[in-house]
């Protein structure tokens, strides 16, 4: 869409300040209501029975005993969730992931569910459901799954993207390729070539709030769903189509959300809760345990990646090649393809190729996790970049600066970049005091770059002006980290009124038009855009009302600093009309004053970050400590800097956990061995230092304020930055994430990989 391009060097009065968030008091007093905090009269407790097997045929499910237990109001299996997807395999996959259909595809796959008067009764009912399994051979490792003799997870899958099209079933759902130029020719021109293989283990988004919902469906086909989600409109559409309900008759309300990071963009047990409620004709509350969250929801991929990069002694990369193998869990997806697209996006490359494989295994369906797929690819590529720089004796920052993508560079995934921030983040890193800070014994410094696309999507916003001149801003994007504060700032900026006069609310699906899920760092970008246009729409009405009041031509009216002013000299005698005055008079000047906007917020600018970190390694135990960490990222324009910094810091912390200690550990039996926060080790407060941030503002031409999404990009560099730091500290190259103490100690003992220390 076309914007007023005067976004550069815009003067802002309110945007860029740091006022308190509107939901702050509710959240520090315990009043804020999250997924599990709702109650409905007569509500039942819903529990889900899950497969203990990684792969099994479900020969029979006997629910008769459970149904007879006093206090049990409904027991359901896949028979209660008939296939209404009309051949849409993608939709059927979603349904089958919610409830197994004749086969269990991973440890934790739902096979049946009960609704009962209380938790104790529901628990007993689950124990009374008898499932007759025929255990099948399973595969959980991505490389194993690609072998010819591997157990087949989805017999209907034929690899897409290979010629000739295969006739035999495979665990490889698709092969994709990106790049340009001639890599073989490029490698021939290289003075140095580094080729290396990497592995990353599966991690979970680890939001502290487990999935929870309260579902209510009546015999009249009308329903309500209270749920913790990143996208209640998407959940409504998906649940309605899976259950054969009318979209308009299912009202979905998004609770306060206790973290999502991509894991709450997909439906999991919500359709099951609705089906239980429909059968019991009572409200049903389903709250997952932490064990269920780990075993059955949203992890990201484990991967296996080969990278080959060639460069000349004068510091130019001549060719770059990556082969990426991503496991998507038990259902086909495009996570490997995304890894292929993002792998070399930071660099200006003449010859580049990325070949990506999406692979099925007996693990939970993979969900988006913050800049999905990019961190693993960046780990492999940025680790190799460091080794190439060392081989030719270049400083890793200078080497990256020399090869960084810039405006006009053809991205490795195809298009040509407009104005982008990779160069500036690298320069900022080079000049950052952190780079010059001294290191002690057993400490190493690492840095790395990261890229993420960002996107916008369908957005719809209402702005209503109350009779006292205060403004209620109604948005449809879920507030995952302070966006209500940012959007209120934007509305106040446009209208020229104080931030305190604006109250921003996230509407339910019955109160506003469709809004896409809050994902892809789109919340503040797209709802911000819609808020700007809704405010300008309201200002148009305000000017009309002023013109009416003054009985002059609306063309002679302008809006400045929250006031209508008459332009021409002949109107000099007219006093300005404030928003309050126009609002108070509105009943007699034409009724309520409101602004609206419906937009497809395309034009999200791509985003880049550069991170620097210092790590200390105990050479006798392999223990690591993060000594110092710095995040530098382009925000386009920071609306509320506190929450921009918060996104940078949170993403970095998740990356640190991923790099050092977080991993899914499966046993030979294909069962997840650490489905809890005790042994799935996310960083605790004492593990981390303060995380320094530097916000760069390279305005995005695609947004009236120049905003770029900031939520995801900073989870991309940490795996590589920390791997480079650990490798520099330990004197050996680490190639397996997470770099847990046993892996580091083993690497030190074996002295594997040549040391590239010396920084």
């Amino acid at each position: 869409m076309n914007h007023d391009q005067s976004f550069t060097n815009q003067e802002f009065k309110i945007v860029g300040t740091r006022p308190p968030r509107p939901d702050g008091v509710d959240k520090v007093t315990g009043r804020a209501r999250y997924g599990a905090d709702a109650f409905a009269p007569g509500q039942l407790v819903g529990l889900i029975l899950r497969s203990p097997h990684a792969h099994a045929k479900i020969k029979k499910i006997d629910i008769s005993k459970a149904e007879k237990l006093p206090g049990v109001k409904a027991v359901i299996t896949s028979a209660d969730l008939p296939d209404l997807t009309k051949g849409d395999r993608g939709q059927l996959d979603i349904l089958e992931n919610c409830m197994a259909r004749g086969r269990a595809l991973y440890d934790g796959h739902a096979v049946a569910a009960v609704a009962a008067v209380d938790a104790e009764t529901a628990r007993k009912a689950l124990q009374l459901i008898k499932v007759d399994y025929q255990v099948l051979p399973h595969v959980t490792d991505v490389d194993e799954a690609m072998k010819d003799n591997a157990p087949i997870v989805q017999p209907h899958i034929r690899t897409v993207g290979v010629n000739p099209a295969p006739t035999k079933a495979s665990n490889v759902s698709q092969r994709t390729e990106f790049g340009h130029g001639d890599v073989e020719a490029g490698f021939k021109r290289a003075d140095v070539i580094v080729e290396r293989s990497y592995k990353t283990e599966q991690t979970h988004q680890g939001y502290i709030e487990p999935h929870a919902c309260l579902a209510s469906v009546g015999p009249d086909g009308q329903g309500e769903l209270w749920v913790t989600t990143q996208g209640h409109f998407t959940f409504r559409n998906q649940c309605a189509s899976l259950l054969g309900m009318d979209v308009a008759k299912l009202k979905v309300t998004s609770s306060e959300i206790g973290g999502g990071f991509g894991g709450k963009t997909h439906v999991w047990m919500e359709p099951v809760a609705l089906a239980l409620s429909r059968k019991a004709n009572r409200p049903v509350k389903v709250v997952m345990t932490r064990d269920e969250v780990f075993r059955a929801t949203g992890p990201t991929c484990s991967t296996s990646i080969d990278v080959k990069i060639g460069a000349t002694k004068d510091g130019r990369i001549t060719a770059a090649l990556a082969t990426l193998r991503y496991q998507d869990g038990a259902f086909p997806s495009i996570w490997g393809m995304l890894g292929g697209m993002t792998s070399f996006a930071c660099y200006d490359l003449e010859n580049v190729k990325a070949i990506a494989y999406d692979v099925l295994v007996n693990r939970p369906k993979v969900a988006a996790y913050r800049a999905p797929s990019a961190p693993m690819a960046a780990f492999a590529v940025e680790s190799t970049i460091d080794q190439v720089a060392a081989e030719i004796g270049w400083d890793p920052v200078d080497f990256r600066i020399k090869n960084a993508a810039k405006e006009g560079t053809r991205a490795s995934y195809g298009p040509t970049y407009g104005p982008i921030g990779i160069g500036p983040t690298l320069l900022a890193a080079k000049n950052h005091p952190h780079m010059k800070a001294p290191l002690r014994k057993n400490q190493g410094r690492g840095m790395a770059c990261g890229f993420w696309f960002n996107f916008g999507g369908q957005t719809c916003t209402d702005l209503n002006i109350g009779v006292d001149g205060t403004v209620s801003l109604t948005v449809g994007t879920v507030d995952v980290g302070g966006s209500r504060a940012s959007l209120s700032l934007i509305a106040a900026e446009e209208l020229g009124i104080p931030y305190e006069k604006v109250k921003c609310t996230v509407a339910d699906t019955a109160s506003l038009g469709h809004n896409d899920t809050t994902e892809g760092s789109r919340g503040t970008f797209s709802s911000g855009m819609a808020t700007i246009y809704a405010a300008r729409d309201a200002i148009r009405v305000l000017k009309e009302r002023a013109a009416k009041t003054w009985e002059i031509d609306v063309a002679d009216v302008t809006w400045r600093n929250g006031r209508a002013m008459a332009l021409k000299a002949e109107h000099g005698n007219l006093n300005e009309l404030t928003l309050e005055e126009l609002a108070a008079a509105s009943p007699r000047t034409g009724g309520p004053i409101a602004g609206h906007n419906e937009v497809v917020a395309d034009g999200a600018g791509v985003s880049f970050a550069t991170h620097i970190c210092d790590i200390e390694v105990d050479p006798e135990t392999g223990h690591t400590k993060v000594i110092r960490y710095t995040v530098i990222q382009d925000a386009g324009k920071a609306i509320h800097p506190d929450y921009v910094e918060g996104q940078f810091q949170g993403a970095a912390a998740q990356g640190i956990g991923w790099a050092l200690n977080e991993e899914y550990i499966y046993g030979k039996d294909g069962r997840l061995q650490n489905p809890g926060f005790l042994d799935y080790r996310i960083p605790v407060c004492s593990d981390l230092p303060f995380i320094d941030t530097q916000i760069l503002e390279i305005p995005n031409p695609g947004h009236p304020y120049g905003v770029r999404g900031v939520g995801e990009t900073s989870i991309v560099p940490p795996l590589a930055a920390i791997a480079n730091a650990v490798s520099n500290a330990a004197g050996v190259r680490l190639t397996h994430i997470p770099m847990s103490p046993p892996r580091i100690l083993k690497a030190i003992k074996n002295g594997n990989g040549k040391s590239h220390a010396g920084r």
Partner: protein, 81 residues
Amino acid sequence: MIEVQLSASLREFAGGAASVAVEATTVRELLRKLVERYPRMQKRFDEGVAVSINGEIFRDDRAQRIPEGAEVYLLPRIPGG
């Protein structure tokens, strides 16, 4: 007339061609004409497609105008976290 660059995953539907020339002034017209020529592309478009025009990625706005001589790139639609 614009030259549409196809990502590798789409080339197989265009007989391996890396780019094809299409007479189109909007994203909607572009996608329609591609499907007329390569019916099998429809499935990929249904799964999700994004159009990059001079480096700016459009995922949804089918009415988006494509200037003459613009760099146009067809990409898979990208999910996020």
